[in-house]
Amino acid sequence: MNDWQRKSPLDWETYVNKMVKVAAIEKHEYEGWVLTVDPVSASIVLATFLENEKVSVSVVLGHAVQEVKILKEGDDGMKQRLSGIFAPEESKAYSPEELEKRKNDLKTWLEANHIPVTEQGESGRTLCVAGVLTIDPPYGPEECSSSNEIILSRVQGLIQGYLEKQQ
């Protein structure tokens, strides 16, 4: 492990949204805006904006990083732009009432199928299935989170089928 890999997540976070120059082994150099640093491998993900609206993304593996120099800070506009690069596609916007109905309909259906579900979080907006999987608005398969891959895939399949029947 090199010094860069030994840093803490809070340290790595200080580089996010900054323009940096990364010196890597074998005299390679990379420059770009830091999108993120992977906490598992300490790999640095850099973005460079090209003229034709394209974005070039470079990932420098953590084990190859020798030195990272901050060149400049990104302003709020740049931060917005960077956070949007990998953002998942915007789904249809639902009103608070529509979201509440979707949540209640799904909760009722899960309970009817003998799947334990509770409400959590602020104003109960998150559904918690069997204590191991959470579903955020707008309560589709993509909004399911769990550390158990098998349960995740099963529940995503169930919700997918449920939503298809609703159409």
Binding site: V16, S41, P88
Partner: protein
């Protein structure tokens, strides 16, 4: 009538993992330490950084990617997938001097950097 004799099911004994502990990850790794709990602020940052990284991997999937390997070697391939512990990267259509490999694994220790366009 006699009952049919149940056919014994073969037991698959998997080899021990690379770290020898068979848990698939090292108990001293930062990842496992974070799993044990501790600093909530650091863990929150860890999760946010990791989530962005995983979204980045998802964005790379299926895109032509240039891999910068050791000793000045560069290869082009289509990004397939990465594994959890950053041991290897799976690629499709890897262009090598010997021809195009339909599918291949690149060891992360051999890769210095890779890039793709969005």
């Amino acid at each position: 009538a006699t009952m049919p004799v149940p056919v014994p099911v073969g037991v698959l004994r998997l080899p021990r993992g690379p770290e020898g502990s068979s848990r698939g990850f090292s108990p001293t790794s930062p990842r496992f330490q974070a799993l044990l709990g501790g600093d909530a602020a650091a863990q929150g940052v860890r999760a946010a950084l990791r989530q962005r990284y995983l979204r980045g991997l998802a964005a790379a999937q299926g895109r032509p990617t240039r891999f910068c390997l050791r000793a000045g070697v560069q290869v082009d391939a289509v990004f397939g997938a990465a594994d959890v512990e950053a041991v290897a990267i799976q690629v499709d259509a890897l262009r090598t001097p010997l021809g195009v490999q339909a599918a291949a694994l690149l060891r992360c220790t051999d890769v210095l950097a890779y890039s793709f366009f969005l």
